[in-house]
Symmetry: C2
């Protein structure tokens, strides 16, 4: 999912019918691609959010998730320096 969110236009073309990608990708799009249930995907995304890897933005009935690139840089540096 994290890799998918690097290129929303390529990985979630279906979202174009309803919205753009300025706030990220909505849960339903991710669920369809993942092939897991709605509850599983929702929970997974909230875990990634709490971990800081993605950010959520509620717009109407939809919740859009997008990557927080800073978290990946921080993780990369953490591995370099601490591990």
């Amino acid at each position: 999912m994290l890799e998918w969110l690097k290129e929303p236009e390529i990985n979630f073309p279906g979202q174009l019918e309803h919205a753009g990608f300025e706030h990220g990708v909505c849960v339903g799009q991710i669920q369809a691609k993942a092939g897991l249930t709605q509850s599983t995907v929702s929970e997974y995304l909230s875990i990634l959010q709490r971990a800081g890897f993605i950010e959520a933005k509620r717009v109407g009935q939809w919740t859009y998730y997008k990557r927080n690139e800073g978290a990946f840089e921080a993780l990369s540096k953490l591995i370099q320096s601490n591990l």
Copy 2:
């Protein structure tokens, strides 16, 4: 354990009575510090070895493990480029 192995001299002073650190740290030293059973530590180290994060060197009855720094750099770069 991976962090401990960054500074063997500091984290495993007990090994000096029997050997140096040129090949790494032996299982018994790591076990004592970890506070887990011998079997658990041995299995854990073999997993880390198969994953490429540490290297094993058998010397007599002892198996010494040391970090494979290249694996950590590679992981850091993988996160930067692929994740």
